[in-house]
Amino acid sequence: MESRRDRFRRQLARLAGTGSPREAIDAGLYVPRPASGNRLAQRIDLQPNATRVLAGPIGNGKSTELVVLAEALNGLPDVWAAVVDVSLVHDLSDLQEGSLVAAAGVYLQDEHKLDNGAFRRLREVAYGATNSLKQLLKLSLSTVSLSTEGDGRPSRGLLQEPDNRAGSAQALAPLLLDAINETQEAKGLHPVLLFDSLDRARDPSGFRTVLEHDARALVDHGFGVVLTAPVSVLWSDSGELRALTETWETLPYEDPLKNAEAVEFLIEILRRRADLQTLPEATWLPLVEASGGVLRDLIELARSAVEEAYLAGRDAVGPQEVDAAIAHFARALALGLDGAAISTLISVQATQQVRVFDEPTLRLLKNRQILEHRDASGSYFEPHPALGSMLQRWAKAS
């Protein structure tokens, strides 16, 4: 018979929020989102050869959606799709022209175990002798052109002096296409690359560079491209960036306090992960409401409540453990908030709007102390619901 300790351990393992998306999907833990469905997959099916952005705030399941999207695309008869986690092969603070194409070549070789002469050439070009992608940026035009075995000479316009790495994306893209086309898996299919982890790039100008040059070069050579966007551009004027893409979709946090469909979606996430003996159904709604619709926070709150129940010597999570989990979470979320931040939170709670998108407010948005939701009439904002009790106390004190 399973011991109490083993039962709790098994439950905690199913609530491991930092686990890989692939493992979660394979374990049947993925729940399709209410609205988006496979809209992006359908768009790519209609027009594979385009640049598309999938943006969204932190902890909202973008990486998982990319894996699911790749799976859906690979189910189409004429598409070959792969997710590329750029951060595993390249420093995101160093996004420059050519780095995305080179990173794709290296990642597909390392993680997807694709290998042929073209991939090996691509790796040589990317890493050179220093075993660093930075080497790419030191390449002269002639080196890149030699690697492509063709002219590959880029056009930078009559009035622009090409620098020593200009055109590297255009030169590398056909090499990557050759590499992929030579594999059995992708031969004769439309390649679609889904670039994950770019949401963690801090410098929007680096993202702009790879969007402008690498994504364009890949599309010019027949690829479909999907990129995640840096969190920092979510609340800034991204018109210029959007103009460089065919579509720009944002995955907002679902609102469990106003939207019944969102509640069903979030409850279903817990249903797939919960052992009813340990995390009974009666505890789900308060956890869902306290999560504010942030998927990672929901799983983290549930995990913490289970841990609390175990430490308290109980057989199952009850209201006390849910409250304790929310209190722990709120304390972590409130760490380092100063008076100005608290005033902003109180104001957002009252108005459901953000008055000024200045740097301190953007930090509150990035760090989930303020959550943005969307409905038919547009965006509205609220403090993270886990902060509710603290905010009441602060409001009284002020």
Binding site: R4, R5, L12, A13, A16, G17, T18, G19, S20, I58, G59, D85, S87, L88, D91, L92, S93, S197, R200, A201, R202, V231, R296, D297, E300, L301, R303, S304, Y310, L311, A312, G313, R314, A325, H328, F329, A330, R331, A332, L335, G336, L337, R363, K366, N367, R368
Partner: protein, 179 residues
């Protein structure tokens, strides 16, 4: 929280990625990290401490965030989150007052830490007695044993590999030496 309890919590999390922020009094970051490391080893686990050891070279990685690292590391850790996910259990040891800034500067890391922020004292003796009492009570309820029965079971080897019994013994020892 007691350092042995923190180390047990970290050990218990091995087997899957789990990130913790351990906050400590100013100037004790390296000392607490060394104590955590020693406790984990004493309890039969394996840990590495950065700076010093290679990152991710043991199931538990303890990273000291002190000095220049407080301002420089958040950006690095945030952008390398995918790599960190392969390092198993990760404990960031940082001064209480710098913890908020660290989380604010590394929002992706903060999202993975979630509510796992543990405040610890530099000296075990400073652990609040109410914590020890509550924890001992939880263990008694969970296993349906008195302290004496637990000690006997542990000493006879029946629960020698159960880290909660080890914690139980550490807490009893602390309660006794604390008077």
């Amino acid at each position: 929280m007691l350092i042995p309890s923190v180390s047990l919590r970290l050990l218990e999390s091995t087997g899957g990625p789990a990130w913790y922020l351990i906050t400590v009094p100013e100037g004790t970051e390296h000392g607490v990290a060394a104590e955590l490391h020693a406790e984990i080893v004493a309890q039969g686990g394996s840990a590495c401490v950065w700076p010093g050891h290679e990152l991710g070279s043991a199931p538990v990685t303890i990273m000291v965030i002190a000095g220049d690292a407080v301002s420089k590391l958040p950006a690095y850790l945030d952008t390398h989150r995918s790599t960190l996910a392969n390092w198993g259990v990760l404990a960031f040891v940082i001064e209480h007052d710098a913890a908020g800034r660290f989380l604010h500067d590394a929002p992706h890391v903060a999202s993975f830490v979630g509510g796992r922020v543990i405040a610890t004292t530099a000296e075990d003796d400073d652990a609040p007695p109410e914590y020890v009492a509550r924890r001992l009570n939880s263990l008694r309820e969970a296993y349906g044993m008195t302290d004496a029965q637990a000690r006997e079971a542990f000493e006879s080897g029946r629960h020698a590999d159960d880290i909660y019994f080890l914690e139980w013994m550490v807490l009893l020892e602390g309660a006794r030496s604390g008077g």
